[in-house]
Amino acid sequence: MPSLRETLARTRNSILGRIQTVLGQADISDETWDDLESLLLQSDIGAPTTEKLLTNLRKRAASEGIVKASALRGVLRSELVALLGPKATPVHDAKLLLEVIMVVGVNGSGKTTSIAKLCHLYLKHGRKIVLAAADTFRAAAIDQLQIWGERSGVPVIAGAPNSDPGAVVYDAVQASFNRKADLLIVDTAGRLHTKHNLMQELKKLRNVLSRSVHDAPHQTLLVIDAANGQNAINQAKGFAEAVGVTGVILTKLDGTPKGGVTFAIVNELGIPIRYIGTGEKMTDLQEFDPEAFVANLFDEKE
């Protein structure tokens, strides 16, 4: 498994690797702030969050009497950690007969692959899993999930293509009870958060789950492509309003030398990042750790 540091190495090289050079040895000047701003904006942090960060940095520089530009690096680092907040670790309630995780997101964000990885992770924790193939719309989406299911030996409950995803979810709940599974992961069809009807359909799926299992879905994970820019915030907003998002899976972080969207989502919407996807293999999913995430971004050595 590539370490988080390896994964983020490119991030460091491209943005924060430059921060030292950019800040240099000089005293803080107007140019310092402009340079910092451009670095932050270039990492998809977005204008509002960047502005907030810079305001905080200026305040701290003034109150802590920071003169050297290079000293801002440490301050920025701690501000970024503060933005992400504490690590979000939902504890699995062992009393739950059946835990339900619903996975949602826009088209092509990597839902199905992330589910395969989630399966792998939870199987290691000794969970008994059932998968629901509720993407009945996209061609061969069911087959894609079934292939992953076969690879990890997890049963996949599916209906016919273009059938009602609500029915699939209902069947999957029954199947989970019959098989005495303790975790049901629901793969939903990709949809843009602006499509009213499709979001209504998602609400319906959620209702089917909550009616069949107490308090379900216990987790609603939104999958976001880390290469996305500011629209990721709209996505998070849209899905959170429709079905309530408990956490984010940030995917394709292996090739994206940026994770800036993370800060904006947490800062503006208060939705925690739960996992990061770092490759195409089943093992390429890690729990998101804000401290480690930022620490790695700022590590000076390779």
């Binding site: 270039q42 894609q144 843009l192 820019g229 990721a232």
Partner: protein, 443 residues
């Protein structure tokens, strides 16, 4: 979602002295707003910088036309520069002897397979014989996905399973196309990261053995600052001939398109606007420019209205309006027409000036109101709908019960309806206004 840049700039200029000529100071203040708007739209930071330098050069000293406010003048210059940057819509180059090979490349999840099917359908509809090639042997069920799409659209798919190397498959497909007299070969390659050496070498090999006429980068409209690196890497390795922007039907501003266009210099050829195979359009620079600047999307709205508005129904309504026979039943018909166009706040978001209001309305609020009106009218008898005057207290109570509303709400609707009717009557008796009937009936 869409903030109106013109409004923002206007606010900036209101604070400054109004002058006939834009000076450097005014322009700088204005351009700061433009800069933010572009960054919010995900235009790459460096691209923004160069772009603003060009705008500034043009804007300083520019005479503000009498009919324009300084804010509008700046927006006009920005819009024009944006159009220049976006360039002319690109056409597919399908000259020379067939078969023409089109290679689609891009990151994972950018929409290559869906785009391949859409492109094939479009070419078939223009009288060509396309064949699709399943060259993604990595993603589970990718081949199956293309095969299913091909079956659905009745377009042949060349697939050889996932054991044979993709360059070999593609080469075989081209020979097959020659024998089968297909004119276009569309290669659906696997998604790959631009920094994945092995995978980039593979796609280079595919290019070498198939000699494609078109190498199109399929890119997600939601892509952020990374867009330049992606486009640059693919372009350097493969020599792109065009871009296809996907998922444009969402609310992404699509600034990535500018970044990619600026860094590669190749034209944007198509936009994917939905999940259905026919949701595929040639690229319209003006539409995207307006969207990036947050100036609403009137054109899209007009088209949406055209697609969903039932012409016969509209003509009937127009006739009734003019003859002053417009009744509550027709009113109901109107409401249903509007509902077909989508959630009201989305429709409003596309209208400049109304987009601010639309943000304050949740989809539930507006659509709920429409639904209530619909419920109320539906709870009336036909007789009541044609003659609202018969609605006495008892009837109103019944309607209120039937629609789950209150008598007050029913009164409101009746009053609103009467006003509309009165207006229509005046219009129809005024001969000069008769022409307006065309607004409702014809386009």
């Amino acid at each position: 979602m869409f903030e109106n840049l013109s409004d923002k700039l206007q606010a900036v200029f209101d604070r400054l002295n109004k002058r006939g000529i834009l000076n450097e100071q005014d322009v700088d203040v204005a351009l700061r707003e433009v800069r933010l708007a572009l960054l919010e739209a995900d235009v790459n930071f460096k691209v923004v910088k160069e772009f603003l330098a060009r705008v500034k050069l043009r804007a300083i000293g520019a005479e503000v036309h009498k009919s324009l406010t300084p804010g509008q003048a700046v927006v006009k210059i920005v819009h024009e520069e944006l159009l220049t940057t976006l360039g002319e819509p690109g056409k597919l180059d399908l000259g020379g002897p067939a078969p023409h090979v089109i290679m689609l490349v891009g990151l994972q999840g950018s929409g290559k397979t869906t785009t391949a099917a859409k492109l094939a359908l479009r070419l078939r509809n223009s009288g060509m014989r396309p064949i699709l090639v399943a060259a993604d042997t990595y993603r589970p069920a990718a081949i199956l996905q293309l095969e299913q799409l091909g079956k659905q659209l009745n377009i042949p798919v060349h697939a050889e399973g996932n054991k044979i190397p993709p360059p070999q498959i593609c080469q075989n497909a081209v020979s097959h196309a020659v024998q089968g007299a297909y004119d276009v070969v569309i290669l659906d390659t696997a998604g790959r990261l631009q920094i994945d050496e092995t995978m980039m070498a593979e796609v280079e090999k595919i290019k070498a053995v198939t000699k494609p006429q078109e190498v199109l980068l399929v890119a997600d409209a939601m892509t952020g600052q990374e867009a330049v690196n992606i486009a640059d890497a693919f372009n350097k390795r493969l020599g792109l001939t065009g871009l296809i922007l996907t998922k444009v039907d969402g609310d992404a501003r699509g600034g990535a398109a500018i970044s990619m266009r600026a860094v590669t210099g190749v034209p944007i050829k198509f936009m994917g606007e939905g999940e259905k195979p026919d949701a595929f359009e040639p690229f319209y620079p003006d539409r995207l420019a307006g969207r990036i600047l947050g100036m609403g999307d009137m054109l899209s709205l007009i088209e949406k209205a055209q697609v969903n508005y039932d012409e016969a129904e509209a003509a009937k309504t127009a006739e009734k309006l003019m003859s002053a026979k417009f009744d509550l039943d027709d009113f109901l018909g109107q409401i249903r027409q509007i509902k077909k166009m989508g959630p009201l706040n989305e429709v409003m978001a596309m209208i400049p000036g109304l987009n601010k209001l639309s943000k304050e309305l949740t989809p539930d609020m507006t659509d709920k109101q429409l639904k209530r009106v619909e419920a109320i009218i539906s709870s009336m008898t036909m007789h009541e709908r044609h003659n609202p005057d018969v609605l006495n207290a008892s009837r109103k109570r019944r309607v209120a019960k039937g629609s789950g509303t209150s008598v007050q709400e029913i009164n409101q609707i009746v009053v609103q309806f009467r006003q509309t009717q009165k207006m229509m009557k005046q219009m129809s008796t005024n001969p000069r206004m008769r022409g307006l009937g065309g607004m409702f009936g014809k386009r």
